[in-house]
């Protein structure tokens, strides 16, 4: 069972454009929603994260929008650059005793065309 559903599977954007990746979840126990960026041959790297008590978080060109009632969150990359070309994973964390396990989406391969 996929705990976090992510779309689209792939995305092609022109340089300078806005890239938007969407995720949805069902488990209301999730309390932390990070986005990871993964380049080929590298491990995922934490990009930006949000908690459900906030509707938006912005860090540079990256913004998370969070809709708690709809159980959806999205990543917006403003002024997309070729260097942003990577696979992006949304994730959700559920608090457990001594641990916060991360459940990852299936990933979105972003290609930014110069």
């Amino acid at each position: 069972q996929q705990q976090v559903k992510q779309s689209p599977q792939s995305l092609i954007v022109q340089k300078g454009g806005i890239s938007i990746i969407n995720c949805a979840y069902e488990n209301t126990a999730f309390d932390y929603f990070p986005w990871y960026q993964q380049f080929p041959g590298k491990g995922p790297a934490l990009l930006i994260a949000i908690r459900p008590d906030v509707s938006e978080k912005k860090e540079g060109r990256f913004t998370i929008s969070f809709n708690k009632s709809a159980k959806q969150f999205s990543l917006h990359i403003m002024d997309s650059q070729p260097g942003d070309s990577a696979t992006y994973f949304c994730a959700a964390s559920i608090p457990q005793t001594g641990a916060n396990n991360l459940f990852f989406g299936t990933g979105t391969r972003l290609t930014v065309i110069p």
Binding site: V4, G43, L46, A99, G107
Partner: protein, 114 residues
């Protein structure tokens, strides 16, 4: 600060053979994770350690997979015997004490089982 180290980076074995992966987490990180990432999918947690104790191994196929974290630092993940469906990237991650939602990933080991 040095990141999470993993070795080897690549491994090719035949089915029914055994293989072991090694991980050295970020210094001082109490929590260590092993993930399996199948091509085109998000990482899936296999096992989580808090210091040298297992917190969660519910997704670990225990008939063939084993993992240990001696002295609460380095960890090894072993597969014996390997199956074709074990072909994947095996990622190690670590997180600071009390911040299990903030995980730092290593570059991974790409395993091919033929």
């Amino acid at each position: 600060e040095a990141g999470v180290a993993q070795s080897p980076r690549y491994k090719i074995i035949e089915k029914r053979q055994s293989v072991a992966f090694w991980c050295n987490p970020i210094s001082g990180h109490a929590t260590l994770y092993w993930y399996q990432q199948i091509l085109g999918q998000g990482p899936k947690l296999l096992i989580q350690f808090q210091n040298n104790g297992v917190v969660d191994d519910s997704q670990l196929p225990k008939d063939r997979f084993s993992a240990e974290r001696l002295k609460g630092v380095d960890s090894t993940l072993k597969i014996q015997p390997a199956k074709l469906e074990d072909s994947a990237v095996y990622l190690c991650a670590s997180s600071p004490w009390g911040r299990s939602y903030e995980q730092y990933f290593g570059p991974g080991t790409r395993l091919t089982v033929t």
